[in-house]
Symmetry: C2
């Protein structure tokens, strides 16, 4: 199966084996720490055993589904707890492609690299829509790309890698375009807690059988390794998605579900606000240094990535390696995210050394 | 998507809401408790945090893969840690069906109910081979069913639901038949620690690019809710299976992987032996009572189920409900496992009250 993700691993591998001190801005692994209730929840669960160590309901622990349903103001029957956002998108895209309502998945370029690979695995084909320079996605461009061949329109807001946040008007239009084309809008909202603009609008705001929302706790609770995510869909989609979930994974891992349930109950809004403020500061620090380095960039409205282009220094894999060796900063080549930004680099702001990295880049390009 | 598993849930639901005291012999959830090292491992992991809470390698924690590889005497690169045996079978069957080498999956009747559903989900078709009355599977019957349309031959040993254990000669033949037909033998060996016959032979004994072995720790460590399993395959299959794993789940849940790693290292052979001996005793107790009840049954050579047929009492869903209400014993109707045993009932020996259940059945049919 063709799949582009290994580029991430090649770069991480290279950075890990490089000489000298490297600031790692490759992965999307939060460095700011989980709320204490995650570990507490795991300890509590570890003390149970017996029946509590056996299969949870396939669609997720009832109390966790109830907690999610209450927060998202949907019925609990619409919630499926998944093995992270990855499985949530797999279930949603699988549902869109199994309806015999087209085999194309409309997605942006630049694109989160799992989306094209999942599309191929599920028997679909990709149709790319280019975003504006600031990462925004014009609904009219999506409307033009959509047709009776469209099974799925796949958006990610706040966006990895561009940092764009699609506002309420755009989201309403994406839902409408899905309805017009008998397609499913899959809205991947895993960075919803990292909106700096105040403009984020969940697709859940628009009641429609043509939209499925995916999310996870990987980023919001800084637990990418736990693999707890969820889908929200109307019953006509949720039922077959539950079957696919059962036939693929039986259920998601229960210790992680128990820890997330406890963390959701015991973590107050300060934790989320502080993580977001920390990232906002890192964005300011980093983009200021990019100015000093004469780089072109977009200030992200959300998520935790910055894409940048340095003068006469296209973001190839070779140049990525050169920055690791010569500047001591590891980013991701833009080619990892489709063709539209293949001369850019993506930097993940998941290190306390953002300022150090920024200084190094400014020095290197001075 | 069509799928037969809900029958399990209907029976469990019925038993849970029935009046009076019911002995639950429906599920496959071990009741004998996990080794203490499982909880210890979870506690240890909970005390880490930070980077340890982030993505493990997609194919599984390196030390866990090394531990599995050492135990199974294969190269670590052949091991993929999965979200339980369910995902392991999904990956293996997906690989067999994506090779453009046929679209049929040969499987037994009676059959573990997930297999037909997974086959349909993955775009394949089922071809059933009937087993003998004792659950044994004649390789010549498999050879006759196999053809150039065969993508996969799927066996489960020790077997759920029949309790059959396929010996070395049969397993050698299954591998050979896969080779003869350019197919993949998928050998699901999740009950390998529960062989009472001494005749169990893993497909790993036969070195061939045409066999993939799946397994899990759900039963052997009594942690069906943790979802930690694995596949072992030659590189030509392991690589695309790793891609499918990444595109479906990104990785398996890390807390559960860490707990299993610790448990494998710290649990001695006594734990496994004692669980097996406990089950062997339960088999004796239960089958003795079946004799008293005038039932036909097969004494299982492995796993932890007994299939039985009572005189003038076919194992329909209605009769299953009647046994719950009138005898206070909940089993599974044979129709849940294909057509060959649809007048039988399956009883899971996962309750300390096997003797009580046996007495109740003997009384009821006296």
């Amino acid at each position: 199966m063709e799949y582009e993700e290994p580029l991430f691993f090649r770069v991480m591998e290279y950075a890990a084996h490089a000489d000298g001190d490297i600031v790692d801005m490759v992965s999307g692994n939060p460095d700011w720490g989980s709320p204490p209730a995650v570990a507490e929840g795991l300890h509590e669960y570890a003390d149970t055993g017996g029946r509590e160590f056996q299969y949870p309901p396939s669609e997720g622990l009832r109390e966790l589904r109830e907690e999610i349903a209450a927060r998202r103001q949907v019925d609990e029957s619409q919630v499926i707890v998944t093995n992270g956002g990855g499985e949530a998108n797999y279930l949603a895209m699988g549902r869109a492609l199994e309806r015999n309502a087209g085999d194309e998945v409309v997605m942006t370029d630049p694109v989160y690299p799992y989306y094209p690979g999942k599309t191929t695995m599920l028997g679909g084909t990709q149709r790319f829509v280019e975003t504006a320079a600031d990462g925004s996605l014009d609904p009219e461009d999506v409307r033009e790309a959509a047709s009776e061949d469209t099974a799925c329109i796949l958006v990610n807001t706040p966006n990895n890698p561009t940092g764009a946040v699609y506002g309420e008007d755009a989201m309403r239009e994406f839902v409408a375009i899905a309805e017009e084309n008998d397609a499913i809008l899959v809205s991947d909202e895993v960075y919803d807690h990292f909106d700096f603009s105040g403009e984020f609008a969940s697709a859940l705001q628009f009641d429609s059988p043509n939209r499925i929302v995916t999310n996870s706790f990987s980023k919001s609770l800084a637990i990418t390794g736990f693999r707890v995510g969820y889908c929200i869909a109307d019953e006509e989609h949720a039922d077959p998605m539950k079957s696919r979930h059962m036939l693929t994974n039986v259920a998601s891992s229960r210790p992680a579900q128990a820890a997330v349930l406890h963390a959701l109950r015991e973590t107050d809004a300060d934790y989320y606000r502080e993580s977001r403020e920390l990232l906002r500061e890192r964005v300011e620090t980093f983009t200021a240094a990019l100015d000093d380095a004469g780089a072109e960039y977009t200030t992200p409205d959300g998520a935790f990535y910055v894409m940048a282009r340095f003068p006469d220094f296209p973001g190839t894999l070779e140049n990525t390696y050169e920055l690791i060796d010569e500047a001591g900063v590891a980013g991701m080549p833009g080619a990892g995210f489709g063709s539209a930004r293949d001369d850019w680099l993506r930097f993940a702001l998941v290190t306390p050394r953002v300022e150090e990295a920024a200084d190094r880049l400014a020095d290197y390009f001075a």
